[in-house]
């Protein structure tokens, strides 16, 4: 499942919603990304997250389908927020469901690597003085 939304998510509920469908799942790995107070040695006030929504959904769906196939996942969920996000707010949730843990660990890393590289989101960090558009590095 792919969700692109402004509002926050509840990790417990998001995981339960999918886990309840599968009794063969033994391992669930999740990644949550947060807005940090300091980045590149600058005090962050908040961030503005811009998205090319139609393309982001398409890219995330491709990454999800690839991860499910490559790592034999039972299911996979990606939630990505956009809009204004303050320090300590959540940005993204990736959850992988598999029978055994190694598949989900690898899949979750795989998804984050491609998400950071290919999915059309852009972060603008607003500092107490000025702002910067960010660029993901490897």
């Amino acid at each position: 499942m792919i969700k692109i939304q402004k509002k926050d998510f509840n990790i417990e509920q998001e995981i339960k919603l999918l886990k309840d469908k599968y009794s063969n799942v033994g391992a669930v790995i999740s990644f949550i990304g947060f807005v940090r107070d300091i980045n590149n040695k600058k005090d962050v006030k908040y961030i503005e997250l811009e998205v090319y929504e139609k393309m982001a959904i398409k890219e995330l769906s491709k990454i999800k389908d690839n991860a499910i196939k490559k790592f034999d996942l039972v299911d996979c969920l990606i939630v990505h927020r956009y809009g204004r996000l303050d320090v300590n707010d959540r940005i993204v949730l990736v959850v992988c469901f598999s029978e055994h843990r190694n598949n989900s660990f690898e899949a979750c890393k795989f998804i984050m690597d491609y998400l950071k590289k290919d999915v059309p989101f852009w972060k603008k960090e607003i500092y107490f003085k000025g702002s910067d558009w960010l660029e993901n590095t490897n």
Binding site: Y52, H80, V119, F121, W122, L134, E135
Partner: protein, 81 residues
């Protein structure tokens, strides 16, 4: 043909998108020439090859041909996650 701009590209073009109704560029290279003419501040970024192009929601890495009903997006390297 619809051209969409994102992140700091939008700050240069001063618009989120524009429609090219007639005499649209035939391929990506022709589009780049139009962009450089209309937005001189984009030239160095286009020349440095840092921008990414998507045609109808798919990345393109070649000088792909363009059609009148295409949606083309131009954006800097992404920074989600």
């Amino acid at each position: 043909m619809k051209i969409k701009y994102f992140a700091w590209i939008k700050d240069i073009t001063n618009k989120e998108f524009e429609i090219i109704a007639r005499n649209h560029p035939k391929n990506i290279e022709e589009l780049k020439i139009v962009l450089k003419k209309n937005y001189p501040d984009l030239e160095k970024h286009l020349d440095q090859d840092v921008l990414r192009f998507a045609i109808n929601l798919e990345y393109t890495f070649e000088n792909q041909n363009l059609n009148s009903n295409d949606e083309i997006a131009i954006f800097p390297p992404v920074s989600g996650g």
